[in-house]
Subunit: 318 residues, 2 copies
DNA sequence: CTGTTAGCGCATTCAG
DNA sequence: CTGAATGCGCTAACAG
């Protein structure tokens, strides 16, 4: 009887032993489809992210796993590959699986996949984008504020002619850019010509190419704000190639505080996000909601932290 | 009737239209559990990897996705987190899901999870480790040969006192190290003191720390072989901190040819693996096997490529 | 505590 | 081509 397997304590020891022996010798494996059909629930928690390559999400995933691992839900990842269509496809597929919950880093764009998420009939936690129209639960940082903080740091250092490397559609980049822009305008330093839009993804290589393109286009700049640490590292390499001293001749500020940023030469000034915590808390919110302790739609804003390091320096020390 | 959904062509247009309209207005979603139970199959392909953080697997995943995406299987990832126990847990869970197939980058160690893989009753492709005891299908490179190639390159450059940074248990590292060692012994340069075992994972940071520890322990070396490009980049940074010129005073060779390796300063000499192709072909083998074109256990050896770049140089040019 | 039973929502039959 | 019946393997609810 299946009671033995699901709740071994409520059957007599003899029966339990006998059943377990049979199970073992016959190599029985419970059919999850049947179980899920009969019990009208699954143990599936899905995490849908736009990229598996990103160190960024990787740490969020670690956080999620840390929270989930001793519950007996099973965690599955799916990749929306930066495409809202793929995201929608996955959401539709998910709908048929009676998931326990969904943690999603939405792809930004024209489509509105909220209806699809709603139809899942399970708690949904959106991570990273607290500024998005949240329809259930969300957790992340305020990217506009973070962008402003990074910008103010460069201004405080005395850099004035400040370039920007990144991508500006899509919510996170957009919001961050909003922060950059308002801060630069306040200081009277905003110049749209100094914006270099990413063509090749947020890679080290494209960081170098973008800085090269910017400098070739507008001449020297005091500093560059980069939308990711990969871009910033690429900018450092490009500066080295051009014989520009970082941070004296060009200040470089990244975003995310990736693993290498602390130990590069020079180490990168950047904004640290509590990525692990975001994942952990997202999973926690999900589990709580699943246990019925759901308090309705809510947004949790996490703190970020400016990490001033060797790739920027105050003008007094230059 | 469900015929309409699964095989729209064999029903009359009128019925089809009516059903589709209802489906749309009621927001009907087929129950995958019931479908899978009734039809005794699923559309699930699982990819089980030891790490989601790694750029290495990320590109393998891209290859897999490229092959799978226009079939209508659904792709799920699971993370064994470098743990054979977690791997076993996932395999057990999988067994109950009637998967179409499994692509797995095994965790090396004491346990033997082959029996669990066999019980899945679906084709299994092991990636990366062709030297493992393969029980079904496998695809990857010969890591021992690749390790030997990297070593020979350093010897050809004229480096003699060659350190090694990496981790040496676990199949890939072990096999690679076998290659290093045999090649160094052949040249009469093998010295176990020059081996620095990774404590902190294959990160940029630990690469720097390991080189520092090695140099502090044994004094100057001519070159270091690194088990990954992250370690190699860390070694480059550490060399810069110590004022050691790369490649003149110390040669550095990585492994994997990650994105940044081409554009770092100096660019990294490394071994390129056909990661995308490995993923693509693995998925292809799986689909073929699933379609019945299964030719029994087989191992596919892929080619790797030495990428000589700025972090190593021939002695004549030094 | 234990044996038995009735569906879960579909695909797959079999008649019509 | 279409409607109706059967059962996939399990859980939940029910009696014993």
């Amino acid at each position: 009887m299946s009671r033995t397997l699901r709740n071994p304590d409520i059957v007599s020891p003899e029966v339990r032993e006998k059943v377990l022996k049979c199970v073992d010798s016959l190599g029985y494996v419970p059919d999850l489809a049947a179980r899920s059909l009969a019990s009208r629930n699954s143990s599936l928690i899905t995490v849908l992210v736009p990229s598996m390559t990103s160190y960024l999400f990787a740490e969020v995933m670690h956080g999620i796993e840390a929270r989930i691992e001793d519950s007996d839900f099973s965690l599955h990842y799916a990749n929306s590959r930066m495409s809202q269509e793929a995201e929608a496809r996955h959401l539709k597929l998910l709908a048929g699986q009676r998931p326990v919950g969904l943690i999603i880093a939405n792809v930004a764009g024209e489509m509105d996949n909220r209806e699809l998420m709603r139809r899942l009939g399970c708690p949904v936690v959106q991570v990273q984008d607290i500024s998005l129209d949240v329809f259930d639960m969300a957790i992340g940082i305020d990217h506009a504020k973070a962008g402003a903080t990074a910008t103010r740091h460069l201004l405080d250092c005395g850099y004035r002619r400040i370039g920007v490397l990144g991508r500006f559609y899509g919510t996170r980049g957009e919001r961050r850019h909003y922060g950059y822009r308002s801060e630069l305008e306040r200081a009277g330093c905003y110049d749209p010509a100094l914006i270099e839009d990413a063509s090749g993804g947020f890679t080290v290589q494209s960081g170098g190419e973008m800085l090269a393109s910017l400098l070739n286009r507008v001449g020297p700049v005091d500093a560059v704000l980069c939308q990711s640490d990969e871009l910033a590292l690429g900018a450092v390499f490009e500066s080295q190639r051009r014989g520009l001293r970082v941070p004296e001749e060009i200040g470089i500020c990244g975003f995310n505080d990736l693993e290498f940023s602390r130990v590069s030469v020079p180490p990168l000034t950047t904004i640290r996000l509590p990525r692990f915590d975001i994942g952990y808390k997202a999973a926690d919110m999900l589990l709580r909601a699943h246990q019925g302790r759901y308090d309705g739609p809510m947004t949790t804003e996490m703190e970020y932290e400016l990490m001033p390091r060797g790739s920027t320096v105050k003008v007094a020390d230059r």
